[in-house]
């Protein structure tokens, strides 16, 4: 009983932590972008200002109930998914699901967003969703191969086991040293899943007016900001857990997470955008090939 209570407390606490870290990840992203463009960039608390302002808007425009529910699902889905990601000192319900579960649970927020955007009756949004789903079809294939390789290597889909194995053996048993090819493929897939340049096809501000966000204002847009910070957090923590031995303590954990995220972001702001079919072609070619080679290494 006591254990259940503790789990429930962790489940409540983990999303809060994730949200705060996620906001700082957004800040890092914007800061890095600014630095690369020789700008100063936003102040420290900028992501907080943005979210609070958006929620504090006085008139909020809704296109219907599904528009509202979509945003609730987008935020709520990630809130739930965070409790499947072990962080130092807290395991949440990570042993109840595992990585395959996590991979599918993180589709719920996207599905919610897709529904909400659909109700907006704006073709820009629908095109955005069709592109987002297409890019999901593209990057999920290398991603899932990587997950397969890691699960096969550690003999478990349980993230706690995977992290424990890596921490017990030190750096030499980290996923990245044992499966470097898979790690590269995973980083590629992670980059594509963030929806940043050059894989930014579904936002494409100059083309389809920010796609899914086209009719989102006020707390709707605020919800999407929250979702984005969760998304950055989830992607980087998952990568750290699979390849970098998770977090021994909070300091190394945060260092690893921010470092992992910094790589795709730095690459992102040096590139323009691919077209949809080029994205699919690219992602189905290189990361998939790398991931398959990586899996072949793991399995032999």
């Amino acid at each position: 009983m006591n254990e259940t209570l503790l789990t429930i407390l962790e489940v409540i606490f983990m999303p809060v932590v994730a949200f705060v870290i996620g906001l700082f990840m957004v800040l890092m992203m914007r800061k890095l972008a600014a630095r690369l463009q020789r700008r100063v960039g936003p102040p420290l608390m900028q992501p907080f200002y943005d979210v609070i302002k958006l929620y504090g808007k006085q008139t909020q425009i809704s296109h219907g109930l599904i528009h509202d529910i979509g945003i609730i699902m987008a935020v709520g889905g990630y809130v739930a998914a965070e409790s499947l990601l072990p962080v130092p000192g807290m395991d949440g319900i990570a042993d109840k699901g595992g990585i395959v579960m996590l991979a599918y649970l993180t589709m719920i927020p996207s599905l919610g967003l897709a529904l909400g955007v659909g109700q907006c009756a704006n073709p820009n949004g629908s095109i955005g969703i069709s592109r987002a789903l297409t890019s999901m079809l593209a990057y999920d294939i290398p991603y899932i191969i990587v997950i397969f390789g890691v699960a096969y290597h550690f003999g478990s889909t349980n993230l706690i086991d995977i992290i424990d194995t890596q921490q017990a053996g030190g750096v030499a048993t980290w996923g990245i040293s044992e499966m470097p090819v898979l790690a590269i493929a995973g980083l590629f897939a992670l980059h594509a899943s963030l929806g940043k340049q050059p894989f930014e096809i579904y936002i494409a501000p100059a083309e389809i007016a920010t796609g899914p966000m086209v009719e989102m204002g006020g707390k709707y847009l605020g919800g999407l900001f929250v979702m984005q910070s969760f998304q950055l957090y989830t992607a980087s923590v998952l990568y750290v857990s699979l390849f970098l031995g998770g977090g021994e303590n909070w300091i190394t954990f945060l260092l690893k997470c921010f470092a992992v995220l910094a790589i795709p972001i730095i690459i992102a702001y040096l590139f323009p955008r691919y077209r949809t079919e080029d994205l699919v072609r690219l992602v189905w070619k290189w990361p998939v090939m790398l991931a398959l080679i990586g899996v072949a290494f793991v399995m032999t």
Binding site: K96, G97, M107, S126, R131, T134, V280
Partner: protein, 623 residues
Amino acid sequence: MNFLDGLLILSLLSVIVTGFAQKLRSAGWLSSVLLGLQCLLLMGMAGLAYGSPAVSSSFSVSVLGQPLHWQFNALSWFFALITLASALASSVYAAGAWGEDYRLQGGNPGLLQFALNLNVFAMLLLLASGDLLSLFVGWELVSWASLLMMVLAGGAAGRFGLRYIVYATAGAMAVMTGLVMIFQLTGSFQFADFAAIAPSLSNAQVVTFTLLFVFGFGVKMGLLPFHLWQADAYAETPGPGAAFLGAISSRMGLFAMLILVIQLIGLGRLINIEVPYSFFSLRDVLMWVAAFTIIFPTFTAMRQNDARLLLAWHGIGQGGYMLMGLLMVNPLGSAGGLMHVFNYASYQAVLFLVVTAVIYRTRTADLNQLGGLVTRMPLSFLMMLICIIGLAGIPPMNGFVSKWLIYRSLIVEGMPLLFVASVVGTLGTILSVYKLIHNTFLGQLRLEHEQIREVPWSMMIPMLILSAVVFITGFLPGIVLDWVASAQAALGIPVLEHTLGGVESPSGNLDMIWICSVLFGGFAVGALVFYSGNKSRRVHQLDNYAGGHFLTADDRYHYSNNFYAGLMHHIGHWYRGTFQWLESSLGSAISLLSAATQMLFNSFHPALFLLLAATLSLLFFAG
């Protein structure tokens, strides 16, 4: 007289009664009541699913000295439950407002109910088969009964039905050949006799039997490359009939294949047979057939512009998951495969019913002619949402659990490429079901659909109950896993250890109770955060960003056609219609051959042939 006797007799009675009561206005309700009674009788045998021994019928028939008898075990019960539940749902749906409307459109709802009962009877007979002969009898009945269902509306459906029967007859020939060969080997049609000699069969014999049965029964399942008949035939069947056929009819092929290939021949034999010059065993080949059955039809579904066709193509694709799971030695995989039969039936039936509901109100299933119906048919939208989440295999619905079991066993057995194939199928499903729900229920509401209302309760209740099943068995998968485990035991394959919430294993657990609770907790937090902001105000759908353009009701501001345009730029040219081409070239080859024979026949004197044939046969019998 036991429950099984009662069930089969009542089922036969229902066929007769609904056959005579076709013209009656209340024929629909009569048929629903009869099906409901059959469900009750089936529940009487529920002990089967929790470990009771198999029930044998107290009557048997003897044909040419071969006894035919019928029995029910946990596997039959499991399939029978799905059959009767989907039949009951379809029957209730068709009995009320839909049936009235169908009559006004010139259809005969009584005939539909009769066909439904006939199908149920045939299927129960097949599921209850206690020997190879009764299996074959049941099989033929099922084939012809579903033909009746397909062609009763006439028109295009009739044409596709004929195509089906060509395939089905070819399949039946193969099955019969296999059975005759077994009879020659064992001298009887008993399962036990065949099982006894199965270990001593030569590899060549095993391959022959496997190929014959996989082809024969695979035709019904729509296994690649024998899938072409299915989508069109199911899509053109009147709504509730399509829901029933789509949910369960094809799975009869899987059931028969399970009995013959997995129970009697055994997977162990298939794994040991190497395909020459390759790494593959015979089992791997079948798994790849299953994998292609997942991928190709799913991606074909993505291109469909008719909601019914889209669903029917998915039906073919989902069959691949079941076969793939069941071909795995691992108890996780076979449990996943069996559970997927149940899960799939639950959401596929609702999806067809929802699409029928949309057709009932709008008179079209064309995905380019709809849109925005969520404000007018919100409950139907909810049903479709629940069921597409199931179909796409996303938590918290039941489709996820069975797919999770299959993925998990693929990881355990170390099959990366098959794993990727099954995930690609799932991703393709997500894309196409979003297209389905977006193009029907989301986006701009068309002017001509402004006055549409939600469908009446007689149509809504079956959908509500079935989609509740989709959710509950996703939340508590242990309910179905109990039945599945008993079915596994009945098949003689390893049984899955499970809990109410899913699976506990040292290499990774699944506990849907926790996951669902946390997920809904997450939604609650999301709602709290959302509603803590200022209250929002609904705006008209034309109050919309259009780059400064003033939208009017005449503007079609909606994206539906060629929904995945970017993707199709890349993969569009991969759709070559190879299977269509194969089918049509096979057809032309046969017609060429028959034309040649006819020419030969006509150019000589026909009487001469007759004389020749008579002489030869006389010689044969005399000699």
